[in-house]
Subunit: 639 residues, 2 copies
Amino acid sequence: MKNYIETEPQLKAIEVKDKFWSFYQELIRDVVLPYQEQILKDEIPGAEKSGAIRNLRIAAGQEAGEFYGQVFQDSDVSKWLEAVSYVSNMEGTGRLEESARQVIHLMELAQEDDGYLNTYFQLKEPEHKWQNLLECHELYCAGHLIEAAVADYEMSGRSTFLNLAMRLADLIDSRFGPGKVRGIPGHEEIELALLRLWRVTKEQRYFDLAGYFLEERGTDPNYFAQEKSRKAWMDPAERNYTQNHRPIREQDTAEGHAVRAMYLYTAMADLAAWTADEELKAACVRLWKNVTEKRMYITGGVGSGAKGETFTVDYDLPNDRAYAETCAAVGLVFWARKMLGLDLSGKYADVMERALYNGVLGGMGRDGRHFFYVNPLEVVPGISGEVPGYEHVRPVRPKWYACACCPPNIARLLASLGKYAWGESRGCVYSHLYLGGVFHSLQNGISWKTVTDYPWEGRIQYEVCDHEKREKSALAVRIPGWCSSYSLLVNGRECTEEYEVKDGYVSIIREWTKGDTVSLHLCMEVKRIYANLCVREDAGCTALTRGPLVYCLEEADNGKRQNTLLLPAGSEIMERQKSDELLGDYIGLEAAGLRLQGDSEALYSETPPRAGGTMIYAVPYFLWGNRTAGEMRVWIRET
Amino acid sequence: MKNYIETEPQLKAIEVKDKFWSFYQELIRDVVLPYQEQILKDEIPGAEKSGAIRNLRIAAGQEAGEFYGQVFQDSDVSKWLEAVSYVSNMEGTGRLEESARQVIHLMELAQEDDGYLNTYFQLKEPEHKWQNLLECHELYCAGHLIEAAVADYEMSGRSTFLNLAMRLADLIDSRFGPGKVRGIPGHEEIELALLRLWRVTKEQRYFDLAGYFLEERGTDPNYFAQEKSRKAWMDPAERNYTQNHRPIREQDTAEGHAVRAMYLYTAMADLAAWTADEELKAACVRLWKNVTEKRMYITGGVGSGAKGETFTVDYDLPNDRAYAETCAAVGLVFWARKMLGLDLSGKYADVMERALYNGVLGGMGRDGRHFFYVNPLEVVPGISGEVPGYEHVRPVRPKWYACACCPPNIARLLASLGKYAWGESRGCVYSHLYLGGVFHSLQNGISWKTVTDYPWEGRIQYEVCDHEKREKSALAVRIPGWCSSYSLLVNGRECTEEYEVKDGYVSIIREWTKGDTVSLHLCMEVKRIYANLCVREDAGCTALTRGPLVYCLEEADNGKRQNTLLLPAGSEIMERQKSDELLGDYIGLEAAGLRLQGDSEALYSETPPRAGGTMIYAVPYFLWGNRTAGEMRVWIRET
């Protein structure tokens, strides 16, 4: 098997029927998206006002009033529309789709003759269009609109929304680019969106415009310093913040606002894959190494700095003051997916899985109505969210935010999970993640049915349930980096045919026929993980993992002062199959540990604390915060 | 011995000749005060401009120009003048005193006919006097001027400066108080100063005005909200910040800006002592317990929050983001001294000693030219001073600050050390701290000569070198709370006469004659100290102390990544007598420890770090930062 550039499959070709993920996809369909719709329409009492649909109605001339919300309020609508498109594959989405059609119709009415559509500028500053790209998210909103339109076209086959998006993209293209007006977006997003638009329309100008926005970034003179910015809350001289400090090919550390960085790197990797540009690929690989080897939490959270929601310095990963925005973890999944297209290596899928099962999933409550923006690895009520320096760390998920970027980002990612689980190229189907259901590979003409109880169990059964023609092709299944031992059977026996193990994937090459099975069995042992000692906060500590899941301790199980718990190095970690009303069915971990107990009430004393026996109980990190508010911590002191 | 209300002695009655402290007092005289004078006169190239003397010259009509600096710039001059007064007891201070006279003369010229003197308002906003007490430090500056004038009068006997201060105090008294204009200072200071002024002048109006400012604080309606504040950078509704949240008698937790709080509590304790007001005393005791039992670093640093330089919540004592302003530790010494006047208990002197030898002394470099404003208990170059949230933590002492409150505060405290070391009442002399030299007790007519090599050695020898009359009196010597065993000999023998051990003091009552000696021997063993487990950051760690000194680890001795050092519980700590060019003669501590070493370069791996043997070397905290910039930490992980 060569290092094909594999690509994401069409989502329409994937049916999800997965014990673990179907719960979340149905939650997205039944709760999250209807709830978000009500939010967007200002129908939830007590939640932050959105105004997003109303802004559109005003712009469409259906209502009088003023713009409400952030400069990027429109993007909430687009992300919702994108997610609705993805779930349209499922049963029972008629009402949501109908609502989406109405919103798209509103957008048509609101769109200006030249293609312009951005309610903030239309309603509030029509005379200032395209003049504050640094702060006003105009191109960012356009990017989200384009992504939603592409998703709609791919899922529904209808072209109304796509045409609307093309009119907007053409307007942008008519303005920006070589020989036209110079410009780059303050918040990257349009680059990856234009590449998506190019893939469905094959219009080269979109590809070129994406390339322009990417390559113009970081060049001198500093574009943002030239803008006549009127709001001026951002300092254009802080070029790191917007990844504008160097041309993208010269960047080698992840800087600035983490979500922006993730969206930029996603587009860079996508462009590098399509152009086979080795220099650009090298920049992507350097940035990947910097992020995943020096600046990423064990949960896949990135952007440790609360001030500016930014990357800080290597190994600076404070647990109790982590920012680790949900959107940044979502963005890391996007980026990892594109890196796989650039270079088929399991390390990218490992990080994609890590971020997905931990950093992303932990961002949403199991009720689908509460969301974290910030994802700490340690929470202490009374400090978190209260003491200066910890204001951003919430011990419980709020209902919604004035800046509501994260909830719809989780929705659109989880609703389109199939694109991340599967990949295909002419001659190969890739199973990057383990997702129950059926994948009809259009490129190979084979339909693979997958059955699994992952991540609780390590068995994944793949079965050919349909195939169009008899010809050799490969199934490449990922062997996770965390997995120390696995077995793989083809039709119940050791594979004796063509077979390759490389870069974290096992590829079985044969002429598949209906009923053929591939059985992968990953050993799901519990592990103790240690951080690099350069991570100050984690030295002397261990984190528990099982398969892709990172575990954490919660006050509900372990009481207060979890910083006084010690896990002896030799203590056996036992699995506990649990069923909990709030947490669902899951596997908990239990071990005999110690708890430091002080005999002195004094602030400082000569009396060392005693270590008494106690049981330590851990739950998957993604489930934290679904019970009573209390302490939480991932890293446990080890003795 | 009864619980006399003892009082601070006259500084003129004390000659300091102490191996440890004379170095610092001479440093103050020979370096710190001449250097500060040059700073105040803008004569040091490269240091922050002060403008303080120039402001006075402009106000005095000797120079044209505009006010420069902070609203409280005048206070730098007053604190310097106060310190110069204190060192005038020493040899070789003629030039400094002459400079001080010239500055006082400038102040006379600058003072307005009605007594007003504040160069900020005189030069910049003459129409806005007394209208922004919240932000503009007008009463605060007056307080420092009064303190300096009292010191000058006490040390020199001249009344020029005192009269100037009284004219200003009388102006304030004519304006504020019951039946006059309502007002309280945003930054407390004038209260304690007015009580000092009352003590030397015996003018009841100053005592009453101090009481007014104290008791009016925290009452409704919120005075600051009523002010027509024009600068308006502070929110008057944040009443905690200025200890204005409740009447002082009802306060029970230390809130807001730590230096303000210390100055307030100092005045409260002083007032309570003079009035024998049990309710006010109870408030002081509650606040004392809150600060010293829940909100104080082991170094005596207080005010852990960088945002606003404030107290935060109980047990919130982060080491690497500590604020612990030098001025707040100085203020804690002031307060502790007044608590001793309220209730003679060694616990107050213990905290006074802790803050003095650690939190205060660490604020100044051994060269007398570099100062810390912020006193962290852990420093990591690359993070400290650089990463957001750590900007305030400097790994090396800067030369000077735009806000230069700390350096002259250290100077005036160390220059007046005798007042803190000794106390007296009719019938008793109190040795709160151990300070070599001679103390002539005016109240008892006895002169005590003290010889000691404290804090390096625990022997303190007291000898009667003069006495006026034959009558019984007591010498009360403090037995520190940290001292587990001590011996006390009178004239070389076990004391068999009248003798009392109470609240941390041993009192020997006899008819003293010339040549009588009292020999105290404190066992100076090295101790491991443990923080209350509620202090999250310190659980599982130990701090090393010897006598009053807290120790710390520095990179110069232990290399980088000191967070990976482990001190086994059984490891013996050995004393090392050292002589170092930069650190002087001192006792270091050494112990066999372990260092965690990682075999993996990976950010996260399954390989636990190995613990290899290493020596751990600690230096006194007050000496940190005098060598190459590097890591520092007080709390050491214990196994």
